[in-house]
């Protein structure tokens, strides 16, 4: 188990280094950083001094090493457009994105799994067919359209929920602005979460349904029935647990994409998160922010993957043995 964890950890480090290299190269190949920092009328001597001060004349490997060391300490340099440390800019936006993403994932799971189980168990009922039809819409409509439709229906026509922003936030310990503790904050979360989580919800529902159908056909379910176990024990004990491994995988991987694709939802709902920050950065060629965002997203993906791998092991005893012999 420990060996397995260490192996995965080393792999994760490797992935992070590769991503770091890519972000580092953005600095070198997308425009000259000095030009971004100074005005048009800055004399060449001053530019040269700045170039020397930024270490841009050092060997590339040294510069990359310095970049990695700094990044590991959350030092991503100064934003070109805001003239502020990138780290603090991102830190101020991170809570908004993470809260939105986790609530979306929670919504996707809390609705998707029961719907999947239901449609798997009672696949011929009218309700199950209805769920499937609705899920098809969820998969095929683009996120921004769903968001706009929701705003139109719920905010504009019915006036029930706010259509943009985060509502009131409460500052926790000076580092985390949460919208989860105020009424307006929670209300503001509903529409964006549904928009962002809908696709994942239908994905999870279809996944759970497919897995359920598969598992219900297996010999051990047949044998469980022959032993006279109750329907509940069979469906939710034996069958559902066996569908969990793929569900954990997909949910984990999807959590990464939720965070990454929050960009679109954040734009539609003017949600003050990292996605919005990133879009502004792209428009203004603000490389430090783009590089930091890239690294951060990669870091989240890698971390989630790592946790998912460990979760597998907790659910499926066969992987435990496999990991031991392999590691």
């Amino acid at each position: 188990m420990i060996a397995f964890a260490i192996k995965r950890f080393v792999q994760a480090l490797g992935v992070m280094l590769v991503v770091a290299l890519i972000s580092f190269m953005m600095f070198r190949f997308v425009g000259d950083p000095v030009n971004q920092l100074v005005g048009v009328d800055t004399p060449p001597a001053e530019r040269a001094a700045l170039r020397e001060a930024l270490g841009l004349n050092d060997p590339v490997m040294l510069q990359f090493g310095r970049f990695v060391v700094k990044a590991a300490q959350f030092d991503f340099g100064i934003s070109y457009q805001f003239k502020q440390p990138v780290a603090s800019l991102i830190a101020s936006r991170l809570p908004a994105t993470l809260e939105l993403s986790f609530v979306s994932a929670l919504f996707a799971l809390a609705v998707g799994v029961p719907m999947g189980v239901y449609t798997g168990l009672y696949r011929n009922t009218l309700l199950a067919r209805g769920f499937l039809a609705v899920s098809l819409i969820g998969v095929s409509l683009p996120t921004f359209l769903i968001g706009i439709l929701l705003i139109f229906a719920v905010s504009v026509n019915l006036g029930w929920l706010p259509s943009f922003g985060r509502g009131e936030t409460v500052n926790l310990g000076g580092v985390w602005n949460t919208g989860l503790l105020t009424k307006s904050g929670l209300q503001s979360l509903i529409l964006p979460s549904i928009t962002l989580g809908l696709f994942q919800m239908t994905l999870i529902m279809r996944l759970v349904r497919g897995e359920m159908l598969e598992v219900l056909r297996t010999d051990y379910i047949k044998f469980a029935r022959a032993r006279g176990l109750s329907r509940r024990a069979i469906n939710f004990g034996h069958a559902l647990k066996n569908t969990l491994v793929p569900v954990i995988t997909i949910t984990g991987l999807q959590l990464g994409s939720i965070i990454a694709f929050a960009i679109i939802t954040e734009t539609v709902f003017q949600w003050p998160g990292m996605g919005l920050l990133f879009l502004q950065a792209v428009q203004n060629v603000d490389i430090p922010i783009m590089a930091a965002y890239l690294l951060l997203i990669a870091f989240l993906f890698v971390t989630i993957n790592f946790i998912v791998d460990l979760l597998y092991v907790a659910v499926d005893p066969r992987i435990r043995i496999g990991g031991r012999t392999a590691g």
């Binding site: 297996t218 010999d219 051990y220 047949k222 044998f223 469980a224 029935r225 022959a226 032993r227 006279g228 176990l229 109750s230 329907r231 024990a233 004990g237 034996h238 647990k241 066996n242 659910v315 499926d316 005893p317 066969r318 043995i321």
Partner: protein, 351 residues
């Protein structure tokens, strides 16, 4: 004595897009308490589906369309699902072919046993664990106490089938259905598993319905044999008689197709020409008639019911005096030579 299991005129239908298939047609047999009934027949003959019907687990759309199933005198084929569930595992135990896939891979052996025991018996978890350990010891698993917390993949195939047997016997059922319990196992452990199953059921006085392709297993284990052909009874009788003096032409063919250790290894095995018909294409009259060397007029027209034949019964017109009289003398002579005990006097056969 009331039979442990009594199946009367069972008919199982499977509605499909191309019409309703009759998988089992007018099948009747009994199993006495403590008796082992062997079920044999080619692949697709309907052995497994009969077992599933008895335990109430026919795969939809299959359904019992006629006849009755009695367990110790009580009719069980029309019970509501929830009552049938309490019979499954408690009064009827079932063992499937593949021990590798019969156990849930995510649960410890002990937990699967405790779950089964506690479903059917009022017990505390501690008592159920004790019983689980005793069951594992009974099926011959060494270090039973520590093995309770093992997962299925940590056992060999033979050991897993022992666990499956322990699970099937957990609530001391009065009937055990074993559907090819050793087919998936290594030859070297097959005999052990069969012997174990037979001993445990004998100790408990449980009746056994043993489904298998292996006539050797039947000859050693079963008290009586039921031979199925295309979903119908071909022959039913005491095992020695059916093996040594088969009375149905199909059984005769089946027996001579078995290699024997004492026979001449160079001699080619007899083979029944043709193959068993698919369910949708069962011929009129006797299902076996196109492949039968003793076929005569009524065989292609009318379906033979089981007649008394030798020490058992066989669904063949040669055993019905009224029909056998119409048979050509040559056919009767051949049948007699093949060991079929004709029910008409010898003089008439020669006529």
């Amino acid at each position: 004595m009331t039979p442990a299991l009594s199946v009367r005129n069972l008919r199982i239908e499977i509605p499909t897009r191309r019409g309703v298939l009759t998988a089992i047609d007018d099948l009747s047999f009994d199993i006495a308490p403590g008796e082992v009934l062997g079920m044999v027949g080619e692949s697709g003959a309907g052995k497994s589906i009969t077992g599933s019907a008895v335990i109430g687990l026919l795969e939809p759309p299959g359904r019992v369309a006629g006849g009755e199933i009695h367990l110790a005198g009580e009719r069980i084929d029309h019970l509501p699902p929830e009552r049938m569930r309490h019979i499954r595992g408690k009064r009827i135990g079932m063992i499937f072919q593949d021990p590798l896939t019969s156990l849930n891979p995510l649960y410890r052996i002990g937990d699967q046993l405790v779950e089964t025991i506690m479903t059917h018996q009022r017990m505390t978890t501690a008592e159920a664990r004790d019983k689980a350990q005793r069951l594992l010891e009974e099926v011959g698993i060494p270090a039973a106490k520590t093995r309770l917390s093992s997962y299925p993949h940590q056992f060999s195939g033979g050991m897993r089938q022992r666990v499956v047997i322990a699970l099937a016997l957990a609530a001391d059922p009065e009937l055990v259905i074993a559907d090819e319990p050793t087919t998936a196992l290594d030859v070297s452990v097959q005999a052990q598993i069969i012997a174990l199953l037979k001993r445990l059921c004998a100790e408990r006085g449980a009746a056994v319905m043993l489904i298998t392709h292996d006539m050797g297993v039947i000859a050693e284990t079963a008290d009586r044999v039921c031979v199925l052909y295309a979903g119908r009874l071909a022959e039913l009788g005491p095992v020695r008689d059916v093996v040594k003096h088969p009375q149905h032409p199909y059984t005769i063919g089946l027996m001579s197709a078995i290699p024997s250790l004492t026979g001449d290894p160079d001699e080619a095995l007899a083979q029944i020409p043709g193959s068993m018909p698919r369910l949708g294409a069962i011929p009129a009259g006797c299902a076996f008639n196109p492949r039968c060397g003793y076929r005569f007029d009524p065989c292609t027209v009318e379906r033979p019911p089981p007649y008394d034949a030798g020490a058992g019964e066989a669904a063949c017109f040669l055993h019905a005096p009224a029909f056998a009289r119409q048979a050509p003398a040559e056919t009767l002579r051949q049948a007699d030579a093949a060991g079929i005990q004709l029910s008409i006097p010898n003089g008439e056969a020669a006529r």
